[in-house]
């Protein structure tokens, strides 16, 4: 389970890659989730492998617990 080493360059974007590769590379990137999911489906059909789709958060240095409490209003 590995990730491309240049993900910092894709902050705020959805990236598509193969996590089982020795040195994964970003195959596709987009700010749109829809585009990324669509591309991942195409890649899956073409390569017969399931790629990872994940969004690179803008500020990974400060990714403390994102959900602290829940209030019903």
């Amino acid at each position: 389970m590995k990730t491309p080493n240049n993900l910092n360059n894709f902050a705020g974007q959805f990236v598509v890659f193969f996590s089982e590769d020795e040195n994964p590379v970003v195959i596709f990137n987009s700010f749109s989730a829809e585009e990324a999911y669509q591309k991942a489906e195409e890649i899956k059909k073409e390569q017969n492998r399931e790629p990872i789709v994940v969004r690179v958060q803008e500020n990974e240095d400060n990714n403390i617990s994102q959900v602290l409490t829940m209030i019903r209003y």
Partner: protein, 213 residues
């Protein structure tokens, strides 16, 4: 039988991620494979708007009250939905299906209306672009299209946090151990987990699962 997961880096910081697929059992639609952060501090298992939409979770009804999640970055509205979380154990060759309740980040009505307005505007601009002859006017339309897309993404990004596997998900395991000795050596950290075999709704071989394409 336990499974060892290395801490994975997304953008420079190593964190405990599991590779998971979300499944909507009502229509049997699967998400793409994605990383989900194991977060012992999260009260809920949280999925972003895009994943819930992709697998066709039922949107909130008119009468349903959205909840509010308070976290870093302010308040976000959300709704709870049943959802299956699929986790592959490659060493054992199995995929486990866990029936869970996920907190799906979902825009409130004013935000939905704003989004719809922007989407309608974008649609009109796209149509207009096709009718324009190449030149200054078309370039102006293209600029407006890009601007609309940015506005739409800016709204949606608020609902696109990392997938969090919170405390309720821990109940599916006999144990989870985190190994995190030194912040400077995060790349050498890992977690181990052992599935409680009474918890999965289904256990099937990887070859017959959503993980085999």
């Amino acid at each position: 039988m336990f499974c060892r997961v290395p801490y994975v880096s997304i953008g420079g910081r190593h964190r405990p991620y599991l590779e998971v697929i979300f499944n909507n059992s009502t229509n049997n639609k699967n998400s793409n494979k994605t990383f989900a952060m194991v977060d012992s501090g999260a009260d809920h298992t949280v999925i972003p708007f895009s994943i819930g939409s992709l697998i066709g979770l039922e949107p909130p009804t008119q009468t349903e009250i959205l909840q509010s999640v308070t976290g870093v970055g302010g308040n976000i509205t959300c709704i709870e939905r049943p959802c299956c979380i699929c986790l592959a154990n490659r060493k054992k060759g199995n995929v486990y299906y866990f029936k869970e309740t996920v907190t799906w980040l979902y825009p409130d009505i004013p935000t939905q209306e704003k989004l719809q307005d922007l989407l309608n505007k974008l649609k009109k601009l796209e149509e207009w672009k096709l009718q324009c002859v190449p030149g200054e006017l078309q370039n102006n339309v293209i600029e407006q299209i890009e601007e609309s897309k940015t506005q739409i993404n800016n709204i949606l990004n608020k609902f696109e946090v990392n997938v969090l596997l919170g405390r309720p998900f821990f109940d599916n395991f006999n144990y989870i151990q985190f190994f995190h000795r030194d912040r400077n050596r995060e790349d050498q950290c890992f977690l181990t987990y052992m599935v409680n075999n009474t918890k999965p709704a289904r256990i099937i071989p990887i070859d017959e699962s959503v993980y085999s394409v």
